[in-house]
Symmetry: C2
Subunit: 134 residues, 2 copies
DNA sequence: AGCTATCAGTATCAAATAGATACCGTCTTT
DNA sequence: AAAGACGGTATCTATTTGATACTGATAGCT
């Protein structure tokens, strides 16, 4: 594994390099809606209006932006059916599907550990309140 | 696994619920700097100024915000040493350390697949340019 | 005594991003 | 003729992110 000579972390150099693959993917996952959309598309093509319902709070503008960027990255395809009313299906590519497994791992971690995170938040916020009130 | 009766996705209901654990963690990972910081802290405590150097482009304000939120979530501890000049160490908690494995999986995926993503981007952008220029 | 440096941040302001809300064009159904 | 389905776009506002400058405590040097 390729390392940077001034590296003191033991991590591969690329995680710390702004142009590295890992940062690209963490940005991708980091997108507020992208990973959710990928998971909603897991099983079958889904049309725009269905996505809106499923990812209930997202606005159409932001959903469009999310889908366009997933399409640009080759994770999702967009298929327009010449019908009226229009029908546009979004579907995972093979590349997109390959992301499902690491995402599932993360979700599994979440299911086990998010309660601890929420508890930590409550404890932290209580401590902050105490500090303010004296 | 608990499902929603109106669910048409096959996903566990919680991924689509705004208050669900999975969303909490995807927000957490989604934070632009948080997952990077967690990985930088993987092996040992690191002080503030070191973090700044390692995650080179982050501004101090944003790094502070990131660290505070990781601390609030119980993923990182902050230890102030009464010295001059001051020394503040950040270190992963057990909970934080447990996140390293799923993150490593994601990084592994990234290393294999980011080239394909970058290629897709180039192809997409070229196609856009063509469409504009006629 | 005064000057400079180290460290861990804040304060202030500008820029980029996300979100709310309203609207559009095409066709079908009523 | 009116209303509705669908897949968006346009416009404006609110929130988040980022750039830059600055602070306070102390140590070491001159």
């Amino acid at each position: 594994m390729d390392t940077n000579p001034s590296d003191t972390t033991g991590l591969p150099a690329n995680v710390l390099d702004p142009d590295c693959p890992s940062r690209v993917i963490f940005q991708r996952i980091g997108d507020k809606w992208a990973s959710l959309v990928v998971q909603v598309l897991a099983d079958r093509p889904v049309r725009f209006s269905e996505l809106r319902k499923m990812v209930s709070v997202v606005t159409p503008k932001v959903l469009t932006q999310t889908l366009r960027s997933l399409e640009r990255d080759g994770l999702v395809t967009r298929t327009v059916h010449a019908q009226v009313p229009p029908r546009v299906d979004y579907e995972l590519t093979d590349l997109g599907r390959s992301l499902l497994e690491p995402l599932a791992q993360l979700r599994k971690w979440a299911e086990g550990n998010v309660p601890a995170i929420l508890a930590a938040r409550d404890a932290y916020d209580d401590a902050q309140d105490e500090a303010l009130l004296g």
